[in-house]
């Protein structure tokens, strides 16, 4: 009997909200299958299973906040589940209400979607579509290979809602969006809390949207007495808002300090308060404060001539398909990962007053999101990747991070992190280490500059690489070795 537990999706994660189950009792799962969607303060993550077996029991309900490490489901052998009536046999009454939403609502699971040629819909998007009352089967995908994007779903939802309703919900949507994962693009966001949208399909129980559940918990609203206005009587955020308003008008109370759920237009008379900080901002603030308070940083920098690397890359790109084409970042990351292998003193974590070297090079990559904020997914075993493989990994990670579809395995704790701020056009990065790591490598923008080679002045593509090192774990001499190794590797790109 195995347990599927709430994974740690970041060093600072203490708990997560189980947004959706993608399996039900009796389903067989294998290692690597995406089984649930979990929301962390930073993003919504598709979480994979690390064991193979049959789901014998779901322990957590959708919408429930669960501490890291606590069991979410039990896995066992198929014989432990009565195949014909799994729910009745295995699941206590209280939990049976959480039978997977996909089945209850009749939204196609990834397999039936395969009938069309486009890539399967990710659980996060499927979830969003259901929340917004959009049938993904009717949508035209504008993403790669016809894949549905978050934008497609949101646009369809906006089209369903009438302009009047959309306008009315914008005020409500703003704070809710800020609290939700900030990975959504800055598209016209009309998360239509009040718009149902017609969604055919029978259900056996009243659905409650996670947003509604969260609002209800915050406001102390009893969901059992609410009348749902969504399709088939499902309870949406707007219903909770309405209940809150109702209570307030009956029992006049002092104006609430937080604008979070105040949707009434007259609420503008309340003294303006600063906009609510997103969970992601709060999380970055906390982590970076700890870093600067606890880690005695030292900073080093080195200018590297990228001429050989870029020549090599251009040659490769002439042979590669357009879809496989390399960017300099792929070379920089491979060189950094190999250098971290060569200088293991900088690859690991400072825990309880001592440095613990990491066995693998799990290279954290800082990705900034269009909507603001950062995500730091990790590339596992990065020193063993070829430049082409690294390029493919970066593309997938970036796409997943920006569409809010990161996998649990993308969020393993990195052993060293790279900040590639060169894309923003700055010359160099004086980084802040992500605790408990002990090093952060920063790349500025590669740029053509005058450079002396063999006594001759020429124009070369140069990049400034920096290291922020934890002085408790290493000294500048060790840091220098790392930067010099990166330089040496980039002078022989064909060997990477």
């Amino acid at each position: 009997m195995g347990e599927f537990r709430m994974p740690s999706l970041g060093a600072d994660m203490e708990q997560g909200v189980l947004i959706e189950w993608l399996v039900k009792v009796g389903d067989s799962v294998k290692r690597g299958d995406v089984v649930a969607v979990v929301e962390t303060p930073k993003s919504t993550v598709e979480v994979e299973c690390f064991e193979t077996g049959t789901v014998t029991r779901l322990l957590a309900e959708e919408g429930q906040t669960v501490p890291v490490g606590e069991a979410l489901a039990l896995l066992g052998s198929a014989s432990e589940v009565e195949p014909t009536m799994p729910v009745r046999v295995e699941v206590p009454v209280a939990v049976s209400a959480t039978v997977p939403a996909a089945a209850a609502v009749g939204v196609p699971s990834p397999a039936p979607l395969g009938s069309t040629s486009r890539p399967p819909l990710s659980p996060v998007l499927r979830h969003l579509a259901r929340e917004l009352g959009v049938d993904p089967r009717t949508l035209h995908g504008s993403g790669r290979d016809g894949a549905l994007t978050r934008h497609d779903v949101e646009q369809a939802a906006a089209a369903v809602s009438t302009p009047a309703v959309a306008a009315a919900t914008v005020t409500a949507a703003a704070p809710a969006t800020a609290a939700a994962p900030s990975t959504r693009p800055a598209a016209p966001s009309t998360r239509p809390a009040a718009t149902g949208g017609a969604h055919p399909g029978s259900r056996h129980r009243v659905r409650i949207s996670p947003l509604a559940r969260r609002l209800a918990a915050e406001e102390g609203v009893d969901l059992a007495v609410l009348q749902g206005s969504g399709p088939d009587g499902s309870i949406r955020a707007a219903d909770v808002h309405r209940a809150t308003r109702h209570t307030e008008s009956e029992q006049p109370s002092p104006p609430r300090a937080t604008p979070r759920v105040d949707v009434k237009p007259e609420a503008t008379s309340v003294a303006p308060s600063p906009p609510p900080m997103s969970d992601m901002r709060r999380s970055i603030a906390a982590l970076m404060t700890v870093s600067n308070q606890e880690i005695p940083h030292y900073h080093l920098s080195l200018t590297i001539d990228l001429w050989r690397s870029i020549q090599w890359m251009k040659e490769r790109n002439r042979e590669l398909e357009m879809s496989e084409r390399l960017v300099p970042a792929a070379l920089l990351l491979v060189a950094t990962a190999r250098a971290a292998r060569a200088v293991p003193e900088l690859n690991g974590h400072w825990i309880e007053g001592a440095f613990r070297p990491a066995a693998d090079i799990d290279l954290g990559l800082i990705l900034s999101l269009r909507s603001g904020g950062l995500l730091v997914p990790a590339i596992g075993g990065a020193d063993r990747l070829t430049v082409e493989e690294m390029m493919a990994r970066i593309k997938v990670l970036t796409r997943r991070a920006r569409s809010g579809r990161l996998r649990g395995s993308d969020l393993v704790p990195p052993s060293i992190t790279v900040s590639n701020l060169g894309d923003q056009g700055v010359d160099s990065v004086l980084g802040v280490i992500y605790p408990p790591q002990v090093g952060l490598v920063g790349f500025g923008a590669p740029a053509e500059r005058p450079w002396a080679v063999d006594g001759m002045l020429g124009v070369r593509p140069l990049v400034t690489v920096t290291l922020a090192g934890d002085h408790r774990a290493t000294d500048g001499a060790t840091g220098s070795r790392l930067l010099k190794t990166i330089d040496r590797l980039l002078q022989a790109p064909e060997e990477l």
Binding site: G143, G146, A186, S323, T398, G422
Partner: protein
């Protein structure tokens, strides 16, 4: 999706023209797949695309790949300079589409 991936300009320009309209529309449509709310309206023809739409190097390589597929010809690394602004990009795309057609 109306386009099919093509390599080395096997798709003819008339097809690309009918499916995608003008080079400017092609640019805008493709851009929007990367930056969902991107619009060329009100953007100066000389403005740097990467700066205006905050495209990082991965976004840009994706833009180049998608533009090439749509327009039906291979865009080389060295052509990237030609895609710097709306004006240079639309000129480059129409030249390329005419050539393959």
């Amino acid at each position: 999706m109306t386009t099919t991936p093509s390599q080395g300009g096997s798709q003819t320009a008339p097809t690309a023209q009918t499916a995608q309209g003008s080079p400017r529309e092609l640019l805008e449509t493709t851009l929007r797949e990367i930056v969902p709310d991107a619009s060329l309206d009100g953007v100066s023809g000389d403005a740097d695309l990467r700066e205006t739409f905050e495209l990082d190097s991965l976004d840009f390589v994706e833009l180049v790949e998608r533009l090439g597929k749509r327009a039906g010809f291979r865009i080389e690394d060295d052509d990237a300079d030609q895609l710097r602004t709306i004006n240079t990009a639309t000129a480059f795309l129409s030249r390329g589409m005419r050539r393959t057609g």
